[in-house]
Symmetry: D2
Subunit: 356 residues, 4 copies
Amino acid sequence: MSSSYGENLRLTIFGQSHSAAVGMTLEGLPAGVTIDMEKLRAFLARRAPGQNAWSTARKEADLPEFLSGLRGDVTCGAPLTAIIRNTDTRSGDYAPFAVTPRPGHADYTASVKYHGFQDPAGGGHFSGRLTAPLCIAGGVCLQILEGLGVRVVSRIAMIGGIEDRGELLASTADKPFPVVDGERGEQMRAAISDARAAGDSLGGIVECAVLGLPAGLGDPMFDGMENRIASLVFGIPAVKGLEFGAGFAVASMRGSENNDPFTVEDGEITTVTNHCGGILGGITTGMPLVFRAAFKPTPSIAREQQSVDLNTMETARLSVGGRHDPCIVPRAVPVMEAAAALAVYDAWLARRKDRG
Amino acid sequence: MSSSYGENLRLTIFGQSHSAAVGMTLEGLPAGVTIDMEKLRAFLARRAPGQNAWSTARKEADLPEFLSGLRGDVTCGAPLTAIIRNTDTRSGDYAPFAVTPRPGHADYTASVKYHGFQDPAGGGHFSGRLTAPLCIAGGVCLQILEGLGVRVVSRIAMIGGIEDRGELLASTADKPFPVVDGERGEQMRAAISDARAAGDSLGGIVECAVLGLPAGLGDPMFDGMENRIASLVFGIPAVKGLEFGAGFAVASMRGSENNDPFTVEDGEITTVTNHCGGILGGITTGMPLVFRAAFKPTPSIAREQQSVDLNTMETARLSVGGRHDPCIVPRAVPVMEAAAALAVYDAWLARRKDRG
Amino acid sequence: MSSSYGENLRLTIFGQSHSAAVGMTLEGLPAGVTIDMEKLRAFLARRAPGQNAWSTARKEADLPEFLSGLRGDVTCGAPLTAIIRNTDTRSGDYAPFAVTPRPGHADYTASVKYHGFQDPAGGGHFSGRLTAPLCIAGGVCLQILEGLGVRVVSRIAMIGGIEDRGELLASTADKPFPVVDGERGEQMRAAISDARAAGDSLGGIVECAVLGLPAGLGDPMFDGMENRIASLVFGIPAVKGLEFGAGFAVASMRGSENNDPFTVEDGEITTVTNHCGGILGGITTGMPLVFRAAFKPTPSIAREQQSVDLNTMETARLSVGGRHDPCIVPRAVPVMEAAAALAVYDAWLARRKDRG
Amino acid sequence: MSSSYGENLRLTIFGQSHSAAVGMTLEGLPAGVTIDMEKLRAFLARRAPGQNAWSTARKEADLPEFLSGLRGDVTCGAPLTAIIRNTDTRSGDYAPFAVTPRPGHADYTASVKYHGFQDPAGGGHFSGRLTAPLCIAGGVCLQILEGLGVRVVSRIAMIGGIEDRGELLASTADKPFPVVDGERGEQMRAAISDARAAGDSLGGIVECAVLGLPAGLGDPMFDGMENRIASLVFGIPAVKGLEFGAGFAVASMRGSENNDPFTVEDGEITTVTNHCGGILGGITTGMPLVFRAAFKPTPSIAREQQSVDLNTMETARLSVGGRHDPCIVPRAVPVMEAAAALAVYDAWLARRKDRG
């Protein structure tokens, strides 16, 4: 099912950008897990809009209401459901896009798939707003993983062609604008401002690492850690590429260069390098699981674009007004962490079956 | 399940490199489909080893035996099962790798996951040989898609850092070494020879396009065409990256540049450019669905590498003998087509439900 | 996943008896379906408590709030989510049952499974209240099926050993106490009153028929119509048996008696009798699909029973106060129809793929 | 998928009665399980035809060939695939049934579903022969369960209206004709002979108990032990009814009678009676899990029956020749055990995730 993910942990996401609410149901969580609600809210705040200069001015409280699955703040084994009411919505803004689809958006393809019955307001079920319930689910998993000694960290690796420098460190992830090289971060923010001023937008890359994983997590073939993560990450709007470890760079490397030699450290087997991104044969090596996703520039731009009037079948000019992030990448950082946490914890639960 | 894929069409792959057979079961095919066995064999031959100078000398007939699902050559609605017997195997070659895992292979991770009970011979269930049954399933889907006006084509986009030039054309895909620019193809082959001579190996990129798709195929969120293709493609051994349309290049583009303007051609809505790779919101636009996967250099290399002796926990030197492709990329081309065909036909069947 | 059902249509049910809300998400509905809300409310009212002399006095509005999946009252292709707030709840009533589990309830088994973290109030996720969201989903499917010429009807076939007489007719289903033989219905209601007066409860049998189905619906083996219906019906609390057509009576029949001879009627193939309940090889014959489910007597009874104090591990006496149906069977009738509608419509969507 | 079952353990069954082979793939078995092949063959022999006076004369070696998933006789973590070649087949026998469908068989419904492309020989994928691969999978699970202290036993509870007397005991299950009351067994065998002599057939009931289960196995709602078992048992050809514990008898019982009082035995919580069949809220109580399935009389009978000629659409007389069991019930006994073992072991693996 298109809005569901997972095997041992099953996430279902529902809602449209302007429906009564967006929300999620997460089945398969063990009973007895205490959710730190303050921490969860802090995590969700990282994704929320209207936080700072480089994101949309649209304001939302985005506080989840838990409908089921808890006694107090402790999971009881029943499906966990939380919703976020949609309040600050202006559906009227979107009426024209049902007739003149926005380039780079799902307006046209949804219209074909759903024969005109789709909900176009705010992008409907295709809206980036649906990453809020993804973050509720992922935020809960992050807390559980932390208790298991696993941490997910990430950074902005590139925005508008400007690349961060240096290695992703656990400490990087704590910054409000998470880059290693502050100077590069400045340049990225300046580029975002420029794009906004030009009525345009920028894309970028988010890098994510899962630290503290044991070796042996994941499965061969279609349930490898790569497949599991890809199934979720390509569900985040705007993602057009995904790579693990050395990624696309392997196409220019020799085997002797790319292969990660095994070695022993503190009595544990590890690898000298980590070109494989902590995954061999779909299964974790015990090294950091590293991946990067490419986000396209926000398709909603103030600059005039060409589209087609579906009624007259004539080309038409259109300019997307309203409040939009000129660059979605900073807000995508916690979403990537949420996706990583869900994929990893689902695999973690799967591993419990390996000994029968 | 790790060795299964699909929702409307369900593929299960079984076998180890040196078990009695490898094979596949494909459930959900409509009854009444005639399989052109000659065509299927020709397709499988493109993946088979020992075909030419740039691949392994290991010879296999690789002719599938169909055990069920057919009356004559026509599907009868029951699960379709085919096997390929494993014959030319030399299990003894692999005994040492259970103790001293090969860098870049799943020897170590499988050993952790399966507590030493894995089948190490020839890489076991992790072997590239398991792409043969994937090609049986995909080959059948390719034939069905062709009947629906859909064609899957691909090319070698890069090997060892040498990039093909020009656009992927349907005609490119018919060449024995499928590149647009023959001169670049020459350079790639020379680079493979060099790597082999040096006891080393090369990685590369395969580009794939699905032509003739209608708009409206695919689903939002986790069942988008990207997710569907990713679930399969990351199941092909050695794939470390996957991108759609402009892919990672979107990170350096502006929205005004990346957005594909809509236009009308022959009374049909289409886009002027195709940076989105024929997918918006997970759903096809009707333009070619374009994706590229990065393959790492074959991890089996003759050059000496460092590993660890799992018994003594001391580092050890190892050199992987036997018959191995110095570059897997040319043989990966039909495997990518098979994966694309499976993902697309599964989505095609899903679409039939859209009107209830 | 335990609280999810279906392949082409995916139902997820969430909530506990005394959590903020119970609800459901239904994925896979076609876009463009108009839901008749008045009709849906009337259907839900048939299941609602407090309606008449023979059910619990607990009152609930049980009006669903749709959170997503609609534009107005028309499906838009996105997951359909509806919730019912839990209001008239008295959690305190249930505190003792966490220590002294009620016989016939899931108090003890849930406590073992969830290590004491389950939500005991009102039976938690095991409560009969969870059939309300099942009826929302089923009620929507019933409306769609009606548009396809399919109708689901049912009756009370037995209560407390008193069997209804005569054949289930479409008109039977419209009665407030749906039995063919009114006299027997009187006896059943009297028996319920007697049981209530005695602080006791009664079980019974509900019979259900799906009329207007085409031949060819369903699948062999594990996706037969029996399997599909069983997966849902055994999810209704209190069901302990399920049979199709002649059911358990086949154990006393000869083949010549049980086999349904084929014949031709109005140019259509049909069967003279319908011992098979409209299903051969898991696939519909075009005759009414008939099944019966046995419901155990409500386990909550005022009469004193024996249990165990989990703290002291001594036997203890307990009497279940509160408002409980002395016989759940009348309210189970629409729940059975909902289950039938979900199973049948899921199979209907599956059939659309049969021609590829 | 119709020929697949399970969540943590995934079984796929393939083959037609007269295709090259029937077989199964079982994914999700832990690595390191030793299969006792002798024991497995002995288990399969219980289902095999041609064993004695009361079953078909058709002879089959039915020895499975394992194609993958093993090193020697030990599971290696990869999917386990085994096939049984079809040899003693006479396809010609079945040609007429494609035109004149046999009453009680899937000939007609399969023809509608597959538009005439189904494989009619020997019943194709609908044949009872497909229970052989089910028994391979179940036989392996039985061995694993035995190692966990769990045993599955069963008996013939009724044939042709003749009911066995007494309680199902573990020792009953070891008899060649497993009934408690030998005299009743004699009567059943005589009834079978009579039916055969009359060119007719008999139905019956098989009772099955799973002993040694811990409390806490299973899930609420759609993954209850009843649902899990029903999903498999209704996949066995000829099953028309299924009940747990007191089953349909609950419809005539009062709550005070049906509820199983809790008590303490040897410091463990248990129930005084077991009307619930060892399941409350879908979850095991620790008492024997008891269920019964009703099997219809073999539809293939020598006596003349009425059918329809699909070409002329005229009614036609037909008599089913060939070798057929006059009563399938004795051979169904191990099939029920196989189904039980698969359902239980799948739930066992699921339970491992309950603590996260």
